[in-house]
């Protein structure tokens, strides 16, 4: 497996992977929560604060012009990464949640009205449920939910059943953070567009696993976070089609988003600045550009088959553990493994595997409706990245077996 993919050397790029936890080398399997950062990203943050620290789009002095140029260079890197048609379609936000809230607040408030229906699925992250619920409370719009089958997936025809003449917006996650399911988003976008319905894609768990070409996908909006893409926390992206963004009102008012301000009337700046009020996370944006450079040096053509092999290895290894139940068994899956054990609550398992230096996520993963669907209070989740190895999975399995032994005493 490692022949085509030099994971041993790749791991050296991530200093946090080489730490010791509870006396053992760390096994980090919580990549869906956040990914580790390569040294180049860390160095870029330090470089900005050491030698380029300045505000953007403001001063005429050397530092401000330098910071602005680096900031805008990062925007171009994101544009290329997504293959967006225009630079002005890339808006920097705080993260996926902020990006979705921008669309809900701006597009939703301006263009959706009482009785209009918004389609989401039952596997959405809370960040793609709650903002819509707030809008529904305020405007009287109606949330329609695509149900899941027993594998944790839905089909195009399940979507069609929910679609109605009242549907005015579709907002769906591409890859589920708690199940790993890859959804039939390209087909859904085609159908939605044939009814002139815009589609927002939550790409938080997608852009780190596979290439996304927004022109080919033809999504109207795409949201993702920098920190799940090996970049810093506190920075994210909203891609939006220019014609839609242009007709949308601003999300927040403040500096940088204006063309001119008098106390009577303000005219707004052009895209993308109209949606970037206030001083942004400048270092974060620049370092996100560096994270994209890093991914490009490896390439998804190598990342994807490697992660697929890891997923197959992990699925097989976990299934060998007696009584372990996989949660999320869709045919089309990314490298996310959720599971439950009948005798050990996920939180106890999380603590016990942590004693062995293995970091997994336990809980509802901000997807409580998914937990309800599978009738479990919580799951344990191992989410993989390209720097994980089969040895990491072996250590996970070994630590689960050990936890099982502790819990089977006294029964």
């Amino acid at each position: 497996m490692a022949k085509a993919f030099d994971v041993k050397n790749i791991r050296k790029d991530f200093p946090n992977l080489s730490i010791t936890v509870r006396g053992r080398p760390l096994v980090y399997l919580d990549n869906a929560a956040t990914t580790m950062k390569p040294q180049s990203v860390i160095d870029r943050l330090v470089e900005y604060y050491s030698h380029e620290n300045s505000n953007v789009h403001r001063g005429v002095h050397y530092l401000s012009e330098k910071a602005t140029a680096e900031f805008e260079k990062a925007r171009e890197k994101v544009r290329q990464f997504l293959n967006a048609a225009k630079l002005s379609e890339i808006i920097f936000t705080k993260g996926t949640t902020d990006s979705i809230n921008l669309v809900v607040s701006s597009y939703g408030r301006a263009f959706l009205k009482k009785g209009d229906e918004i389609i989401i699925s039952a596997m959405e992250h809370h960040s793609n449920i709650v903002p819509w619920q707030i809008l529904c409370e305020e405007k009287g719009t109606v949330l329609k939910v695509i149900p899941l089958d027993e594998t944790g997936a839905y089909s195009v025809s399940d979507f069609k059943k929910i679609l109605s003449p009242r549907t005015k917006f579709v907002s769906l996650v591409y890859i589920s953070n708690s199940l790993g399911t890859i959804n039939p988003i390209p087909e859904i976008i085609k159908i939605s567009h044939s009814h002139s319905i815009p589609v927002l894609v939550d790409g938080a768990q997608t852009v780190n696993h596979r290439p996304v070409d927004v022109q080919k996908l033809d999504c109207d909006f795409l949201a993702f976070s920098g920190h799940k893409l090996f970049g810093p926390t506190g920075v994210g992206v909203l891609y939006g089609k220019a014609d839609l963004l242009n007709k949308m009102p601003p999300y927040q008012g403040g500096g940088d988003m204006i063309a001119s301000v008098t106390l009577e009337k303000t005219t707004y700046n052009v895209l993308p600045y109209k949606f970037e009020a206030g001083t942004p996370h400048i270092a974060g944006v620049i370092a996100l550009g560096t994270a994209i450079d890093y991914i490009n040096t490896i390439g998804f053509e190598k990342i994807m088959p490697y992660e697929e092999e890891l997923l197959a290895y992990g699925t097989k290894a976990l299934k060998k553990i007696p009584h372990l139940r996989m949660i999320g068994t869709a045919k089309n899956k990314a490298a996310i493994l959720s599971f439950v054990l009948p005798n050990i609550h996920a939180h106890d398992l999380g603590t016990l595997v942590d004693e062995q230096g293995v970091a997994i996520r336990t809980g509802h993963h901000c997807t409580q409706p998914v937990m309800k669907h599978f009738c479990v209070p919580a799951t344990s989740r191992a989410s993989l990245a390209f720097y994980n190895t089969t040895q990491d999975i072996d250590r996970l399995v070994e630590s689960i077996i050990k936890a099982n032994k502790i819990f089977s005493k006294n029964i």
Partner: protein, 152 residues
Amino acid sequence: MSENSRAELYQQVILEHHHKPRNFGELTDATHDAEGYNPLCGDHLHIYLHVDDKNMIDKVAFNGDGCAISRASASMMTVALQGKSLEEAQKLFTQFHQLILGHLKPEKDPNHLGKLAIFSGIWQYPSRVKCASLAWHTMKGALEKTKTISTE
């Protein structure tokens, strides 16, 4: 912190109470009851108390779902509260609360915790403190006639 002190969280006593919880079930003649949720974990407990006319807790029970820590904590709480006055229950709540936050050291600070002192190491697991406190907060809520308690 040492490896050993952390490994002590899942001691025999806790596992034993988890597997064979005491006073598990509903109290049909409860004078006080409340439901407790930990929305972060999905833990859910229902605590029932019967307080007699002398303000003594003569019966306690619980049911619900949760992790080993929350279940064992609830089970041990029901044992500890049996026969206590309302005032004593309040005192025990305060002491237990101080214990799990690491502010009360059972080996040197005066207390009436008895077997509950087993939870003394839990402050080293900040994410698990709420698991241990859920039953106690719910019990306090029941006595104060608050129907639903949420710890987050």
